[in-house]
């Protein structure tokens, strides 16, 4: 029940992410998503063992809600990234598309749930929407840093999906996911730094000048 409310709140953060105008709002929303994932994971576990709970807490609370936002803030500060999001399309179209994505996610959840297999429909629907939202953020925003954030929204979606499909937390999948996030963010950080030393800003519009 509490997990259901947290899942719906997770969906609301997706709506917020698709319309927010500042990088700081994105970072805050990633923090909130990390906290919500912790709540969802805690209430979705069928059997409680100390190791599992410590692992989930480390992955969601420590990594997703504290370390990564701190790292992103550091990147924004040190690289003098422009604080606005700079989307290609207007916010109105963003929220229109985001609404369609939520609808599509729930449609997918409906087919998944009615075909059997023990899928949790709410979590599954929001997880699919989350993955699609991440993709949408990546294709509709100009800055590289927002691409990394879109990637992290996808990772959160995959985490949620692992909770939705199997009743108990498959530790290996989570380990892989969390390593993915860490490596992805670190790589992206280095990548952004290199781009910064090559170009004056990190706008991917500049990348069109690259020729082989």
């Amino acid at each position: 029940m509490i997990a259901d409310i947290a899942v719906v709140l997770f969906g609301v953060t997706l709506l917020y992410v698709s319309t927010a105008g500042m990088i700081e709002s994105y970072i805050k929303m990633l923090t909130v998503q990390g906290l919500l994932l912790f709540v969802i994971a805690l209430f979705s576990l069928t059997e409680y063992n100390v190791g599992g709970i410590i692992f989930v807490a480390a992955e969601t609370l420590l990594l997703k809600a504290i370390i990564i936002p701190l790292f992103l803030r550091k990147t924004v500060r040190e690289n003098n990234v422009v604080r606005e999001i700079e989307p290609y399309i207007t916010n109105f179209h963003s929220i229109l598309i985001e609404t369609l994505i939520l609808g599509a996610g729930f449609a997918a959840a409906y087919f998944a749930a009615t075909s059997g297999g023990g899928v949790k429909p709410f979590s599954f629907g929001i997880a699919v929407s989350s993955v699609l939202t991440g993709l949408f953020i990546i294709i509709s925003r100009k800055k590289l840093l927002t691409h990394v954030m879109g990637y992290m929204v996808i990772e959160n979606g995959i985490f949620l999906m692992s909770l939705a499909v199997a009743a108990e937390l498959p530790v290996l999948v989570s380990l892989g996911v969390s390593m993915d996030i860490l490596i992805g963010v670190l790589l992206a950080g280095i990548f952004i730094n290199r781009i910064r030393s090559a170009f004056d800003n990190q706008d991917i519009d500049q990348l069109t000048r690259l020729k082989d």
């Binding site: 929220i95 609808g103 009615t114 629907g125």
Partner: protein
């Protein structure tokens, strides 16, 4: 005094004083947030009494429409207030399909306001009327999606019964309750012409929506319009309270919780107004559209609960 009379008396006092207190609480929260003391909680009541004592000035271009418009708007909002469950948990007027009556009573009030503004022949007021119509028109489909979903999910046809079931402790009600309340808060801000949509304190005609429509009104007409605006906030506040109080609570405790939640919604509006500037005119439809997104979330959750086997 029997139970029914008591309930009716409490509702009458609520509808009479509630709107003034609601606006008073919003202004007090804003004042405290800025470190000011703020004017008295019932300042709007004093203003309305003062305006009722004054005469009314009519422009030579106006017709009878202008005179009757505030009265129609007031009557329509008052009837919508009677349909929504009050502090006792029951509505005065309850019939099948009253949720549609509620939507169209609010629309009638809006329509009356718009023709009243157009009747003055002022270009400023025409501009305000066009903005009001185009922005709040997005509220209606969202409201319809939310309420018809609730009707289908609960199987009841009147506000009182629907809201009683939403309050139930089923998983559906809890999960769907979050976006329902979020959608209602946006409806409160859009219909009540509060900050992210419209700024009641603005002094520039070009940026006004609701305020510019009533520039030509004076005396009792203006008093009625001010009271109606407060009443509209109060009605949607009651709707939020009725949705959020859990089932199984009744009597004085229900009334107490009801008033607490309505007051909390006023405090929330005050906090939103203190923390946010109004959004740009071109971004207002986007803000109001968020309500439709919330409604789609409600629809999807209910659909999954009914057909998809989520419990």
């Amino acid at each position: 005094m029997d139970r029914f009379t008591t309930e009716l008396l409490i509702l009458a006092v609520y509808l009479l004083l509630g709107p003034f207190l609601y606006v008073g609480i919003i202004n007090r929260v804003k004042a405290l947030w800025c470190g000011r003391k703020g004017y008295p909680l019932l300042q709007l009541l004093h203003d309305v009494i003062k305006l009722f004592r004054k005469g009314e000035v009519f422009s030579t271009t106006t017709t009878g429409v202008f005179i009757i418009a505030p009265v129609i708007a007031f009557g329509a909002v008052l009837f919508s207030a009677l349909v929504v469950p009050g502090p006792a948990g029951t509505s005065v007027l309850s019939f099948e399909g009253d949720y549609l009556f509620f939507a169209y009573a609010l629309s009638l009030a809006k329509f009356a306001g718009i023709i009243g503004a157009m009747d003055t022949g002022s270009s400023f007021e025409g501009m305000g009327a066009s903005r009001e119509a185009s922005y709040t028109s997005l509220v209606e489909p969202a409201y319809m999606i939310v309420i018809t979903t609730a009707v289908y999910a609960t199987g009841f046809l009147s506000f009182q019964d629907i809201l009683m079931v939403i309050q139930g402790s089923k998983a559906w009600s809890l999960a769907a309750g979050v976006p329902i309340i979020a959608a209602l808060v946006i409806m409160l801000l859009a219909e009540g012409c509060r900050v992210p949509v419209d700024d009641p304190k603005t002094h520039l005609e070009l940026t006004m929506i609701h305020e510019v429509m009533i520039l030509d009104n004076s005396g009792p007409g203006l008093a009625l319009i001010n009271y109606t605006a407060g009443l509209k906030l109060c009605v949607i506040g009651s709707l939020i309270a009725s949705v959020s109080i859990p089932v199984g609570i009744s009597g004085w405790l229900y009334a107490l919780l009801f008033f607490a939640i309505v007051a909390a919604s006023a405090v929330l509006v005050g906090i939103i107004e203190s923390l946010n500037a109004r959004v740009r005119m071109s971004h207002v439809p986007q803000f109001v559209f968020t309500m439709i997104s919330g409604a789609v979330l409600v629809l999807s959750i209910s659909f999954l609960t009914i057909f998809g086997g989520a419990k």
